[in-house]
């Protein structure tokens, strides 16, 4: 069955946010919001959960710390211990001060790049991907709310449209997709 999608376009982020709040209170499900910049406070209204990328960044960071520690211990202590001025070079802990800078740098390197790659993959933003915003103006000064009829089956199309009508949109668009 073909899916019907309603796109309601607004010219102000606050109007969209107020509209979303009213519609959600009535039980309407907002499928998506497209905006040219982050609308602060929209996520809890339309039920977008906070991202867990921060946790991922921490895990990448720990991986970096571990790799740097294991690597430097192997290079400098196990495989080729250097004798510098007769100072002991047989224990990682006694020499750890010299290894702090690179441990830190490698931690940051892994955390930043790991998180960036995860971010691109999760967003599905990669070189050459097609744009999916419903209207080119949503990267300029227009804000679009997307409703799917299948997710709002308790309302008829007319009911939904008239409810959206009260929120002060500037354009309304109906699309059918397979």
């Amino acid at each position: 069955m073909a899916e019907k999608i309603i796109y309601a376009m607004y010219d102000d982020d606050d109007v969209l946010k107020d509209g979303a709040k009213k519609l959600v209170a009535k039980g309407v499900k907002v499928a998506e919001v497209f905006s040219p910049f982050p609308i602060h406070g929209i996520d809890p209204i339309i039920g977008v959960k906070n991202t867990r990328l921060g946790v991922m960044a921490f895990m990448y960071a720990i991986t970096g710390t571990l790799l740097a520690t294991i690597g430097m211990r192997y290079f400098m202590i196990v495989d080729w211990p250097m004798n510098i001025g007769g100072k002991p070079n047989n224990s990682y802990l006694e020499n750890i001060l010299a290894f702090i800078p690179i441990t830190f740098e490698f931690t940051v390197l892994c955390a930043a790049h790991g998180m960036a790659v995860t971010y691109f993959l999760r967003n599905k933003t990669l070189p050459g991907m097609p744009a999916q915003n419903p209207d080119p103006r949503t990267t300029d000064d227009r804000f679009v709310m997307e409703f799917r009829l299948s997710e709002n089956s308790q309302f008829s199309e007319e009911e939904l449209t008239s409810m959206i009508q009260s929120t002060g949109y500037v354009e309304l668009d109906l699309k059918e997709v397979k």
């Binding site: 606050d14 107020d18 998506e32 497209f34 905006s35 040219p36 910049f37 982050p38 609308i39 602060h40 406070g41 996520d43 339309i46 977008v48 906070n50 991202t51 990328l53 921060g54 960044a57 690597g71 430097m72 290079f75 400098m76 495989d79 080729w80 250097m82 510098i84 020499n95 010299a98 290894f99 800078p101 690179i102 830190f104 740098e105 490698f106 940051v108 390197l109 955390a111 930043a112 790049h113 998180m115 960036a116 971010y119 691109f120 967003n123 599905k124 933003t125 990669l126 070189p127 050459g128 991907m129 097609p130 744009a131 999916q132 915003n133 080119p136 949503t138 990267t139 300029d140 000064d141």
Partner: protein, 473 residues
Amino acid sequence: MHKESAIREPLILGHKTYTDITADVCKPIEDKAPKMWYILFTIALIIGLYGVGCIFYLIGTGIGVWGLNKTIGWAWDITNFVWWVGIGHAGTLISAVLLLFRQKWRMAINRSAEAMTIFAVFMAGIFPLIHMGRLWLAYWVLPLPNQFGSLWVNFNSPLLWDVFAISTYLSVSVVFWYIGLIPDFATLRDRVKRPIPKKMYSILSFGWSGRAKNWNRFELVSLVLAGLATPLVFSVHSIVSFDFATSVIPGWHTTIFPPYFVAGAVFSGFAMVQTLMLVMRKAMRLEAYIHTRHVEYMNIVIMVTGSIVGTAYITELFISWYSGVEYEAYAFINRFSGPYWWAYWSMMTCNVISPQLMWIRKLRRSLLFTFIISIVVNIGMWFERYVIIVSSIHRDYLPSSWSMHYPSHIDLGVYVGTIGLFFVFFLLFARFFPVLPIAELKTILKSSGESYKNAPDTHGHDHADENHNTNNH
């Protein structure tokens, strides 16, 4: 929404709307480049190519073509390296540290300051690479398994820490910059009409669509990257200073170096940002976004870091006497009264006296004065590195080996060439990339834009019931 005091100067002047911001930033990209751009680009390119020619000659002949000698084995190259890395500190400081401190004025300058950072670190990277002499063996700085026994790079050496610090700093800065650029490339993709630019921006924008979840991730990634980049900024120049501080050369062997170098780096970086921004705002008609208030904020940073640098100079001088180490004391007496006295006093004048003039409100709000001081500061910071490096080693423990450093024309050519290349990159950036963060500027329009800020609050009744769920931002 975050409310700002009415007496605080607006950050976006004039009666801008969201679409005005888009248009103002995209206009210079969509229009034909002005004649001045072509002139500047040609000059920069010629100078840059001359530098590349000098580098080829250097690599073909050997680093003997530099003005180094047995006593002064490290001079012009490392001076330029530290100078460029220092300049490369402002961008990430602006975008990361100021993001953590929620300084909204950063949005006028962060994009181009980050671009400047990346290009400056490129230029810095050239010097250690060509110093290797055999550029094609540059991968030897990495800990790779090899056939020379199991010989590894020395992880005890600050020079290797530098390899990791600079490459991490460069790559993390690029990622931070690019993640911020993606939504703005999407704006350009949706605006431009001609097919080739449309295709290019479409590839560059990675298919960004601006969904609510995308923005949610975007904000978190920016915040975490800022949190990671902040200690990174401080670590990079600390590690650069370790190159000197961990040696036993009088004049280098000081514990004050890391904070002193970091302050100096921020100082010179902001000066370079001022130089570029003052020209850019005029040439690209961005006066509404980068105005006197922004310049003043940056001048205050220059004043504070300049004062830290000045204090460090004087502390260093005092401690050289107070330590009772005669070699240490001599290194400093020689700095200010020896054959390099002119370099020392240029450094003192440019870096200690000139930023103090910023205490005067009229001067720090004067664009012409700022422009002059920004150039003076960068000259001063170049002399600082030259003084620290050359004046400390040109007279060592054995007076028969005392010597002077005279740069060769290849030294000069490579240095001037990097300045040319830097401007080639920056001009290309200004021509094809959005020089202001379009998306981020739109988020502050309602709180800090002139027309919204001082307008009577027409949505008063709406805001009252909103406060409870939006004040966490």
